[in-house]
């Protein structure tokens, strides 16, 4: 019998059987990507406004830091199983967990983005007669945009690596390969599933890194 399960996982990946049909790699990857995007976007809707508020006003900073820290400690597996017991199988339970998982990075990204603006610059803007909203959107945000995108980057990588848990409670995604491989001792399939998750995470990481570079204001890009 052939040796390494790692080598076997490569032949699993290129086997045409796994590239078509309802359980195909492209389909599962798209599902995985969809769960990740949905989780991060919903989290962003909640976390970014709060982060911007905290960063701009400086109010409730310690509360935000503490909440983000506590949220980081929440074990995702526990959340997924608990929510699933409460709301049943399907996407709701894992999605809720992914949102919670994504919030700390996004929150931290948003408030540090706003905070990063030099206080002297902000005061200058205020002296010029800008409203607080204008200061936030025209001064603080453009300068801090790379940090905000950095928050998205951190959240996305975390969620994409964890989105396999959706398959634990009746949904799809690349976790299907991983759990099925684990349950049936098909390690090549499990490794292949993991490699796909890693590849997806790296691609997203690179894309967001690029976005981080591109969103830096031209004048600040030198650093």
């Amino acid at each position: 019998m052939t040796g390494s399960p790692f080598l076997e996982s490569l032949s699993w990946l290129v086997d045409p059987v796994h590239w078509s049909g309802p359980d195909s790699i492209p389909l599962r990857t798209l599902e995985h990507l969809g769960y990740t995007a949905l989780g991060v976007l919903v989290a962003a809707l909640l976390a970014v406004p709060v982060g911007l508020y905290v960063g701009h006003t400086g109010r409730m900073k310690s509360l935000a830091v503490a909440a983000a820290g506590a949220a980081r400690a929440l074990p995702t597996l526990g959340l997924v199983t608990l929510f699933a017991l409460l709301v049943g199988i399907g996407l709701t339970a894992p999605l809720l967990s992914f949102v919670i998982l994504a919030i700390p990075s996004l929150l931290a990204g948003a408030y540090s983005a706003v905070e990063s603006a030099d206080p002297a610059t902000v005061d200058a803007a205020r002296a010029q007669g800008m409203t607080e909203w204008q200061i936030l959107t025209r001064v603080e945000l453009p300068l801090g945009m790379p940090l905000l995108v950095g928050g998205f980057r951190g959240a996305t990588v975390q969620v994409v690596a964890t989105a396999m848990l959706a398959a634990y409670v009746g949904s799809g995604g690349l976790g299907r390969y991983i759990f099925q491989g684990l349950g049936s001792q098909n390690y090549p399939q499990m490794i292949a599933g993991s490699l796909l998750v890693i590849a997806l995470a790296l691609l997203l990481d690179l894309a967001l890194l690029l976005a981080q570079r591109l969103t830096a204001p031209p004048g600040a890009r030198a650093s």
């Binding site: 019998m1 390494s4 199983t81 049943g88 009746g170 098909n186």
Partner: protein, 313 residues
């Protein structure tokens, strides 16, 4: 490692040396088995009066392990409990290495671990086959009447609407059939492929990784799926008035409870364990499980209650 095992009748292969050989080759191809044998778990103590008892990460299995633990303690053995171990490929090597001495198993799944192509047969035949495929140092004791096997289960409403009593009746149901089960059900011989081949029934698996637990049951009750793989000793079947579809062709492997033991389990210990197993009826196992999930009692309390009631303590 082939995923899709071709169905093959165990009866034909029984007694043939090829079965044992095939299993041995299969075992050695597992890249992790040797390393695991050296690693995990604590040492099981070396005194002849000390036994280490393990259980799967399954409350029902832990209760059975605890039944054995308590009768062994009553016999004067010192028992080290190592419960809630995840999976076969984790604890079987530990049994072989002697860091575990006893673990309650299930006939069909245990055989399938060593012979992935093993097809269904009677409990006696599987028990006999196990004698041949188990690695040196391991043996199975007598098996119980109690069984905890996979099933095609549906709601009584769905069963009466479509006049279902057996799995084969599903062939006449004119809608897409989805079955909630652990994801590995998809590649088991009694999964979709077996259902198609044996009963000409098409089902798709909706993976729910709680091994027929409350999530699986709930998805069936909610109508997310029409069928669920619920283990037959699950009290949820009676509680929710579910219907276990009959399997007249014996597609599903029997999963009677069977203790697998190391060489350190001597005759005294084996007799004590078999005394428990002999009394463990199918209804008993459902009741023990009910006390765990409904009354939320601990395995120790459930076990001592049952043993006292049966006059074993």
């Amino acid at each position: 490692m082939t995923i899709h095992s071709t169905r093959r009748h165990l009866l034909g292969a029984l007694g043939a040396g090829s079965l044992a050989l095939g299993a041995a080759a299969c075992g050695s191809s597992d890249p992790f088995s040797e390393e695991e044998a050296e690693g995990g778990g604590s040492d099981g103590g070396s005194g002849s009066g000390a036994l280490t008892i393990g259980s799967q990460a399954y409350y029902s299995n832990e209760i059975i392990a605890e039944l054995c633990a308590q009768v062994l303690e009553a016999e004067g053995f010192t028992v080290d409990r190592q419960y809630q171990i995840g999976q076969r490929e984790v604890y079987l090597p530990e049994l072989e290495a002697g860091s575990l001495d006893l673990l309650p198993e299930y006939l069909g799944n245990l055989l399938q671990h060593y012979d992935s192509e093993a097809a269904s047969a009677s409990p006696e035949e599987i028990h006999g086959a196990l004698g041949e495929v188990l690695p040196a140092g391991l043996r199975v004791l007598a098996f119980a009447e109690a069984s905890d096997q996979d099933s095609y289960t549906t709601t009584s409403e769905f069963a009466s609407t479509h006049s279902l009593t057996a799995i084969g009746d599903l062939a006449g149901v004119d809608e897409d059939l989805r079955i909630a089960a652990n994801s590995e059900f998809d590649v088991r011989p009694y999964g979709p492929e077996g259902a198609k081949e044996v009963y000409d029934v098409d089902v798709t698996v909706v993976p729910v990784e709680d091994s027929g637990g409350p999530l699986t049951v709930q998805s069936l009750l909610d109508g997310d799926v029409q069928l669920a793989d619920i283990y037959t000793a699950d009290p949820a079947i009676a509680e929710n008035d579910l219907v276990v579809l009959a399997d007249p062709e014996s597609m599903i492997l029997p999963q009677n409870v069977v203790p697998v033991v190391s060489e350190k389990v001597d005759e005294t210990a084996a007799t004590a364990i078999e005394g428990v197993i002999a009394q463990l009826s199918a209804d008993d196992l459902v009741e023990l499980n009910r006390q765990s999930v409904v009354d939320q009692a601990s395995s120790a309390d459930i076990a001592s209650g049952w043993l006292t009631e049966k006059g074993l303590l």
